[in-house]
Symmetry: C2
Subunit: 531 residues, 2 copies
Amino acid sequence: MNLTGKHYIGHAVSADSSDTFHAKNPATGEDLPTAFHEATSGEIDRAMSLAAHAFNEFRHTSAERRAAFLEAIAHEVEALGDALLELTHAETGLPMPRLTGERGRATSQARLFAELAREGSWVDARIDLPQPDRQPLPKPDVRSLMQPVGPVVVFGASNFPLAISVIGADTVSALAAGCPVVIKSHPGHPGTCEAVAQAVVKAAEDCGLPEGVFSLVQGKTNAVGMALVEHPKTQAVAFTGSLRGGRALYDVACSRPHPIPFYAEMGSVNPVFVLPGALANGADALASGFVQSLTLGTGQFCTNPGLVFGMKSESFGAFISASAENAAAAAPSTMLHPGIHQAYNAGVVRLRDIAGVKVAGQSSTEADAAKAQAAVYLLETDSETLRQNPALFEEVFGPVSTAVNCQDAGELEEFANKLEGSLTATLHGTPEDLESHKGLIEILETKVGRLIFNGYPTGIEVCHGMHHGGPYPATTHSYFTSIGTRCIYRFVRPVCYQGWPQESLPEELRNDNPRKIWRMVDGKMTKDPVA
Amino acid sequence: MNLTGKHYIGHAVSADSSDTFHAKNPATGEDLPTAFHEATSGEIDRAMSLAAHAFNEFRHTSAERRAAFLEAIAHEVEALGDALLELTHAETGLPMPRLTGERGRATSQARLFAELAREGSWVDARIDLPQPDRQPLPKPDVRSLMQPVGPVVVFGASNFPLAISVIGADTVSALAAGCPVVIKSHPGHPGTCEAVAQAVVKAAEDCGLPEGVFSLVQGKTNAVGMALVEHPKTQAVAFTGSLRGGRALYDVACSRPHPIPFYAEMGSVNPVFVLPGALANGADALASGFVQSLTLGTGQFCTNPGLVFGMKSESFGAFISASAENAAAAAPSTMLHPGIHQAYNAGVVRLRDIAGVKVAGQSSTEADAAKAQAAVYLLETDSETLRQNPALFEEVFGPVSTAVNCQDAGELEEFANKLEGSLTATLHGTPEDLESHKGLIEILETKVGRLIFNGYPTGIEVCHGMHHGGPYPATTHSYFTSIGTRCIYRFVRPVCYQGWPQESLPEELRNDNPRKIWRMVDGKMTKDPVA
């Protein structure tokens, strides 16, 4: 890896400011060697202006060229080899096997969006044919399709330095739609961001795409992010991160003279409900799966299960005991950053110190603070304590979960009603349990984006039906997702052509359907050409 | 019409406040007899709480029941007969033939959404089938579809008292989606709102729908609207009105502890470009059509053409002259409200007094101020004056348009670039003109929601392909439309089911596809059941 610490603004590198910062190796607490420069307002303006300029050409590129670009990105990132993963490991403490898997997810995601662009039906082409003789007024010829909105700013997540960062779903879906992308590099893994950006820049150049279709700016201060969101050429923003950071930037986006959509995915508490039938065959498998999900990525997943509800009983007690044993057996592991590690420890203390909350289990090996290691915690409480302490409903980022002994199914519903919007809810049980807890499920359907049965919320499948979103504070707009192919719809808007001549229409709307896509013609889905 | 001046909150009428207001007949300046009560915060809370309660049942109603409800609404509104139209005429000054047409549009729109609900494919059902043996990890069963978000508040428009008000597209699309609706009655036509609300309440009762599925509250003060937007049970808002009012409420919606989407359609300047080929066969037909569009509904359409660009030439001069003659022949007519009338007159004076702007034509009959009559104005200016006076780019609500003599095609592009986001842009010319003005069209494609060729922006076709939206300030979110079947997507969000048992899935997602809808199965569109 040849890291410069500079910004990639179109085809040029830039470092106008002498303010610099270093990434920290969380496992050693030491600064990594590269000095990264803070972006200046001039550099931000250059990146956004180049993006706006590139948009004029990029939005007219064929689906095939965009697809080839996305495939080239995947190829160039793979070509960086394991040196990339070693760098990411040093910056984030995430283990190599995990990073290998995450790279695979990122590159296959880029290829999925290439396929989506190539297939082409995602544009939601609609054609209403004219009726010149209709009474009392003729019906005009009306056709519409989704078109890209313009330059998109992407703030990647600290916890997925490859799959939700420089080439995450935000970036590849925006590029598939025809939007140039300016990345706000994550200060937790700036070297990874730079290395991946080099790969994207090479792919853009090799594909002959206009300068500015992709830029990356570094910055540790809030000022860089604010300036990107405030910039008049920015047309949409995708963000994955904390509620506090996301809300602050959302407020900026909405307060602009011309507001823009700010799509934030801000994590959530992801409740798990253990229904009676789940424990009929013992608690071991369930407890083992649950603690595996809880500790995945050192608990640093947006979908990490932070609350587990069950009805106080011998079998739910057995589940808690078995989970506690699994937690005890789980070795402490390094968090992404010393700051996150401190916040985790403080969060665990905050929960644990509530009267009525006890530690059911915790990693039996001591966590090494110098290595930013998090111990796994399973806390336990009762319904009255939960009722009195709304803090227990709040997400603590890391491998801690609180098991709640409820008195009856009514309490499950009571607490489901009290939940804030969440990305997921998980239910364990038999199909009969689902039927006999209909009320609970009906509440959860209004609270979350994804309901999981007899599975775990972590490990999100990247596919067409996936929804990674949910009511606020999980996200800022519950219609949109940040994972799965629907996420392209954050970066487009319909454009309608009325009475437009065939030869001047976008090809997706022409009578002969040269792209052979699915279209809605007079309300009916068809791939047929218009007669 | 039996008007009470009260609010319709679920099945009850209510009038807790003694603060009242009267609608004014704009053609006489006189108050109409009914005293309408301001809604109190208690009444607003009751309406929203009942809506939230009704949501639990209403969101589970079958498509057939929702469709029947929409059809009953259309039927009950028609059953009010012409007495409704006479009332609306008295409140708005809009002529009876126009109101007859508008009622037809409103009821056929309700029936279109009934059809949409019944057909059912709008839910965007997606199914990704499991691969339990996939390596390195099994692929889960992932299915998702659009579900209603919850109670929706609707602010109708003053200028379409029937088709964009109590039973406008906002209301019928929200009901089709499964969302209860609370209407903020428009203070310009509160009697019309009450009469239509009576019809909706009757339809809801006849269809056996839960109390609170529909409510209407009256109010003239900003406080009523603010309280509706701020109410914690409100999940989305649809608004049609002014930029100032829309932006103020948008700011409230975004500043809530839990922000909600605020979909505002706030009008725009709707530029018209007259390209050289348009005038090859003379200017008369074009000028006549243009002035007809300009004066439709006394110029009080969101899509009213406020600017007309052409290249200074004998033929464009002839178009201006012919349009001026048509304007002179156009009789002044009553505006919706004395306040709107005053704002129009002030707006015309503001434009006319700019040095370099002249009156090319105006209604030759004098406008009767006591009847709130607006004279039609065609103003004329040159490119340098436009360049120096950004005020000329601003919408003046009413029958005034400014023709701009440009020097060359480069100036057309310059001014297109300077336009704010608009609902529409219109081009007149030959297909060859479109090809030779590609640069202009490419700019307009980034500025507007709908491009019209050789037609007029007013008179919006309600259909599947229609887009009535556009970049800010035309709307607050350019992805969404407020007319056409796509407008249902403002009131839904995806809900995803992972590993869910067949019998507990929403029927749209079950293997056997009992609703026989289009679904995306493993990325392919099909109506087939899943094997």
